[in-house]
């Protein structure tokens, strides 16, 4: 990638360094393969492994798109920083909320068994609005 870096410095917007259209097609093929993998494995019963597996595949796909289709691989450092920071704050948001959800007592969760039963419906009609009452 060293040549690419140099190339950018020389031309500023020259993101098209040493690679051609072939690389894009290669990435696209990889994305398709991953898509098929995730579809096939997604409906298998892998127990608790389904969610992590699907997320790992999605993350790999997203990384490929960001790095190569969006040229993050050869982008200036600040652009990398901007995008990573936004991801960090997504993590912060999830962390703060799950710190609450995972440590709350069961009765204080909205899914508490009698939750909907004691709730009279926000419109005060006394008819719980959910179909699952």
């Amino acid at each position: 990638m060293a040549e690419n870096k140099k190339h950018i410095e020389e031309h500023g917007d020259g993101h098209e360094g040493g690679h051609g259209a072939g690389r894009y097609i290669l990435i696209w093929a990889a994305l398709l393969v991953f898509t098929i993998t995730t579809v096939v494995t997604g409906r298998m019963d892998l127990g608790s492994a389904n969610l992590p597996l699907a997320m790992v595949i999605a993350t790999i796909k997203a990384t490929l798109v960001v790095l190569f289709f969006m040229h993050m691989w050869e982008a200036e450092g600040i652009l990398k920083l901007v995008f990573s920071v936004s991801l960090v704050f997504v993590a912060v948001l999830l962390l703060g909320v799950f710190g609450d959800i995972l440590t709350r007592s069961t009765a204080a969760l909205p899914s508490a068994a009698n939750g909907t039963a004691i709730y009279m419906g926000a419109d005060g009609t006394g008819h719980p609005s959910s179909p699952e009452h």
Partner: protein
Amino acid sequence: MSQSASSALAEVPYRAPVYQEINYLNADSGVMSWLKTLDHKRIGIMYLGSVLVAFLLGGIFAMIVRFELSTPEPTFIGANAYNRMFTLHGMVMIFLFMIPAIPGVFGNFVLPLMLGAKDVAFPRLNLLSLYVYWTGAAIVLFGVITGGADSGWTFYAPYSTTTPMTLFPVLLGVFILGFSSILTGLNFIVTIHTLRAPGITWMKMPLFVWALYATSIIQVLATPVIGLTTLLVGIEKVAGFGLFDPGRGGDPVLMQHMFWFYSHPAVYIMVLPAMGVISEAIATFARKNLFGYKMIAYSSLGIAFVGFFAWGHHMFVSGQSAFDGGAFAVVSMLVGVFTAIKVFNWVGTLYRGSIQVTTPFVYVCGFLFFVVFGGMTGIAVATVSLDVHWHDTYFVVAHFHFIMVGAVIMAFLAALHYWFPKMFGKTYHEGWGMVAASFIVLGFNATFIPQFLLGNAGMPRRYYMYPERFTALNVASTAGSTLLAFGFIIILIYLVYALVNGDVAGDNPWDSKGYEWMTSSPPIKENFEEIPNYEQEPHTYREPGEEVEHVVI
């Protein structure tokens, strides 16, 4: 051209100030030249007009609330009208005034001047952000007039989704205002990265620029979340499907998490620029280098970052888990430390200075007291066990008004007076300035100190009627607010007079070394005839080559 660059020492003969005849104000004429301008200075001026109208409206709502509370029984408006009034007061003050106030007005006006740039990076986006602000404001006001909103500015579900009032336009307006804020922040970040004049390195940026940089990061990262939250609440209100309806297994506490994920950092969107203003003004009026420049700069970034981890301290008794409460509480303490660093450095700047006593400096002093008291009561309410009693009482109301009014509005007024000559090339009447400042500082204390005691005594916020035992303190608070309002009226009068009939200020009436003063006042349309030389740091009052005493404490 810059006048102060070479004229420095006292023996320079006195020259009568001159008014820059050709400037950005009269470069083009006609209403359309304003509405279609891409000039950051004119956009700043239009923001100033807009936020002042918003402030006036918010102030009127506040006075209605205060007068209603002068007796424990209904005084002159009904319960629903009262509920609308405090909602409007909060919404208008926060979304229409506080958030755009300092970045939109002074950020737009002085940021490029401080960076030696001819404009912000995206001038069209800048104008668009003003139009988006107007659109959002118009929709909020439309919603207020036709439907009314009585949910409080926090629009907690499920109250907000079930109130009979049509809340949707107001929520939509807030959503749109968010875009204006994002555009401003995005523009500032890019400007600071790409348009610093040669010589202005990161560590030579004026502290106001650092503050705006930190603010912009929050604006860009936090605002989308409130946008989504208002959207979800709005959709739930209108169509009945959102994420927060307990009747369908939804979690209203999730809504509070999402709301405060933005709204706690939003406090720093308001306060950080205010702190930037204070850094600038205190260096100018003490005629001294800033004590601990780097610490102030880094603490701005620190506040911006840590501010994102503290939102849960608004929810200690909301049904959030005790574990999460503790985690958020301990992070909140860190924010306090960053603020403390800044305060020590400001006071340190005054030490051995040559202090020029002016109206903006009075506001700076007011700010110092208020920010310490407001900030430390903030730490007090972040102390979990104490917050159990204080949460949702007037103690909290008083605390955040110390920050919002005591810190932000003091800084806004300081900025308005400090940069008034920069913006218009005229000076206001110092005597009246002092009178108004006294009214405001005294009136402010008289309004909000009783509210701390009310909170201690246990009066919850958003109360239309209250038990008899709270009467005395409420009357005191209402009386104080009258003084406060009176102070603002005086300011309005003398500033309008100054605009029309004020004395010529000259290019640099305060003898400041700030970068924004290195061009004429008011500046020409292109900001600079020639990019100034930025060899010296922005807050250094030592002349080039001059030997001064070097003190380390």
